[in-house]
């Protein structure tokens, strides 16, 4: 049960009438982590997520949940928040949440107990008897979020979880997602917004044009995409610095900002940051020094545009 990966998909392909939605995609989702499925619109993310949820069956490939072949009995261990949110508009909030929870296999009493707990946490106890259509969009989203996580599944799948929330509520949802991970859940979330990826994800898989073009831990990916560039903010003489740096590094860019000079340096292979710092120290006062690690955003753009060439 406690293997490293809670979920694995191997060589998944899916075709729809003439177009390939997924082509030989494999992912392994580590237990207890937040796993991001990234990709531009139309890359195949939603198809992959629907396959994980057993809404669609793949044409080829194998799926494993806790090392067992994925089957309908795993449904109760998975919670899914689709990108297209929707609830029964005429149903009352409380009944709606209970209904969805019971469909996931909870008993009525269990479902009631847990619903009350969550309603308390989100301060929406008085919504119980309201109809869904009487709620604002944001409130509906919260109801939907609760019904996704209520049955405390091992694996949670959020498709664009922050769309439709205002910044305050989005932050609350983000905190809830982090808390769920702390409590042991594994989370797959799909997005095309990179800001949230670095904050939340431990691992990612990047899907583009139906193919996985990159995956791994966020940390490792960013390290792998290091360009050995450094940024320094200093006050001093740049000419002296330039000569001091040769041949360890070249100055790619400099510009003055108020009383500071901002430098972008390209280190030669095998030159450590300490060596560069030493050279700088001789001629300048250093305010700030940092390696320029590419953001997920940069990597994303880089990989996706590469694919186009």
């Amino acid at each position: 049960m406690s293997s490293e990966y809670i979920f694995r998909a191997e060589y998944i392909s899916k075709q729809f009438a003439g177009h390939t939605a997924l082509n030989n995609v494999s992912i392994s989702v580590p237990r207890g982590k937040i796993f991001g499925i990234l990709g531009p619109n139309g890359a195949g993310k939603t198809t992959l997520i629907r396959i994980i949820n057993q809404i669609l069956a793949p044409d080829e490939g194998k799926l494993y949940f806790n090392d067992e072949p994925l089957s309908p009995r795993h449904i109760s261990s998975i919670g899914y928040l689709p990108e297209e949110r929707g609830l029964y508009k005429k149903m009352k909030v409380g009944e709606q949440v209970l209904y969805l929870a019971r469909l996931k296999g909870l008993s009525l009493t269990e479902a009631k107990e847990k619903t009350k707990k969550w309603f308390l946490r989100f301060e929406m106890q008085h919504w119980w008897n309201k109809k869904i259509e009487e709620l604002s969009k944001g409130m509906q989203q919260k109801v939907q979020f609760i019904s996704t996580v209520l049955h405390e599944p091992e694996l949670l799948i959020f498709d664009e979880p922050f769309s439709g929330f205002d910044p305050v509520n989005a932050e609350q949802i983000k905190q809830e997602i982090i808390r769920l991970r702390t409590e042991g859940a594994t989370i797959i979330f799909s997005t095309h917004r990179m800001e949230s990826v670095e904050e939340l994800c431990d691992h990612i898989a990047l899907i583009h044009k139906s193919q996985k073009i990159l995956d791994g831990s966020v940390h490792n990916i960013r390290r792998a995409y290091r360009t050995q560039q450094y940024e320094a903010r200093i006050s001093g003489n740049t000419d002296l610095i330039r000569t001091a740096l040769t041949p360890k590094a070249t100055l790619l860019h400099e510009h003055a900002e108020q009383d500071e000079i901002i430098l972008t340096l390209q280190a030669q292979d095998g030159v450590s940051s300490n060596e560069i710092l030493q050279s700088l120290l001789q001629h300048a006062e250093i305010h700030y020094f940092s390696e320029k690690i590419p953001s997920m955003h940069d990597i994303f753009i880089q990989k996706v545009t590469q694919g186009k060439e």
Partner: protein
């Protein structure tokens, strides 16, 4: 199974608790009672006005004397006969001054030339008044002719017989041949009533299934749902849940209508009976003469249970067959405006079967009737029309088997279209597209 049960529960409870359901359930029988009451009221009150006819008899034999005591014998009749003028034109001149509405002119020799009689009116006499007068005149001429030909009216009466053939069906049974009475009129009523009921139920609640599926699709709840239940379970849960809503409503209607109709009949019946006995309501009396309680005499108890169970079978079979198709249509379309185009092929066989039901009624054992009672799309209605008239067991079994097979087949198709259609948005659906969906994996 537990999940289907949850879906059924939701579909049932949300609908039964709706205001519109409660209103329709209460209003339905009241409306029916009002229609029924209005019919009786019209029947009772319509003929209130008496119609006075001035008889102008120019026959030397005083042909019309035979009618002189008409109003004594029938004090309740709306037809009033009076005599005053011997000349048609005199009578015509005073028609707007005196209290009679029509003039009946009798020529010199009405027995030889009955076509010489005519009725002139200032206010049109009602059909029943006219036919009452015609009946009386026919009787008079008959009597005169009998005298002319020197026939005894009693002999004539016994010669004239009206035939209403009593029908019996010969059956082969273990003990040899058996005969049983066949009551066509009652069977006609039963056949038409039960097939009509099936038709209305399928149409009414099949469309509810379509609406429900569309609601799930347009509100986008469906993706959440299919991550918990199989699309097939969701679809079947909905179909069964709505069927139960329909049955609940029908049951309440039957009970309520029974009560209300009994009450109204009790109030109006005495005056209605009076009308019938007075003879002015002969046609109504004939229809009313089809006493529902006599239906129980038509079939013995075992036949009756067989009939009821077959009715329930075709009722449910037909509903399940059609509603799965309606579900498929609902899942394939995005907007209600598109629904007409795709509903057509589903509703067409239904309308077709109720349309040919009348031909089947006339000839329950004709070729078309037989063929249509095997085709699953038409059999729920057509077979139901035939059953009261007696259908060989092998035919019923075969038709039932086909219906079950047809139902399994349509749900299979519907489930496949449903599964794909439910998650397909913003795409213009064509029949070719639907055909492809049938063969998607998953």
């Amino acid at each position: 199974m537990k999940k289907i049960w949850l879906v059924i529960q939701r579909e049932y409870l949300t609908r039964v608790r709706k205001k519109s359901f409660i209103i329709m359930t209460i209003l339905g029988p009241i409306l029916m009672a009002l229609v029924y009451g209005a019919l009786i009221f019209i029947a009772v009150s319509e003929e209130e006005k008496e119609h006075v006819v001035m008889v102008v008899d120019s026959s030397p034999s005083h042909f019309s004397d035979g009618l002189r005591d008409y109003n004594q014998h029938r004090p309740n009749s709306k037809l009033q006969l009076i005599w005053k003028y011997d000349d048609y034109f005199q009578a015509r001149d005073s028609i707007f001054n005196e209290a009679y509405s029509s003039i009946l002119y009798i020529p010199r020799d009405p027995v030889a030339h009955p076509r010489g009689m005519y009725l002139s009116f200032k206010d049109r006499p009602s059909m029943s008044v006219k036919s009452a007068l015609e009946i009386e005149l026919e009787k008079l001429i008959e009597e005169q002719k009998l005298i002319q030909y020197n026939l005894d009216p009693n002999i004539f009466d016994s010669v004239r017989v009206k035939i209403n053939l009593f029908e019996k069906r010969i059956k082969e049974s273990a003990g040899g041949l058996e005969e049983e009475a066949d009551f066509s009129d009652q069977k006609f009523f039963l056949a038409f009533g039960s097939s009509m009921l099936i038709y209305i139920f399928i149409l009414l609640y099949g469309i509810q299934v379509l609406r429900g599926v569309m609601e799930e699709k347009t509100s986008r709840i469906v993706e959440v749902m299919v991550s918990s239940v199989k699309p097939f379970q969701l679809m079947m849960g909905k179909i069964i849940g709505i069927a139960m809503v329909g049955l609940t409503q029908f049951l309440i209607w039957v009970i309520f209508s029974g009560i209300v109709v009994t009450v109204i009949s009790a109030v109006f019946a005495p005056s209605l009976m009076e009308q019938i006995s007075s003879g002015s309501l002969e046609t109504q009396a004939e229809i009313g003469g089809l006493d529902v309680s006599s239906l129980l005499n038509v079939f013995n108890m075992t036949d009756f249970t067989v009939m009821i169970s077959l009715f329930i079978f075709y009722f449910l079979g037909g509903y399940l067959l059609y509603s799965s198709l309606f579900a498929a249509v609902g899942s394939a379309i995005d907007y209600e405006s598109d629904s007409q185009q795709f509903m057509m092929p589903v509703t067409l066989p239904l309308i077709f079967s109720i349309a040919i039901a009348q031909f089947v009624l006339k000839n329950p054992e004709g070729t078309i009737a037989k063929i249509c009672s095997f085709i699953p799309l038409t059999s729920p209605i057509v077979m139901m029309v035939r059953i009261p008239f007696g259908v060989p067991i092998w035919e019923v079994l075969l038709s039932a088997l086909f219906l079950i097979g047809g139902f399994i087949f349509t749900t299979w198709i519907a489930a496949r279209i449903y599964r794909t259609g439910m998650l397909m948005y913003g795409k213009k659906i064509t029949y070719r597209e639907l055909w492809k969906w049938l063969f998607y994996k998953g």
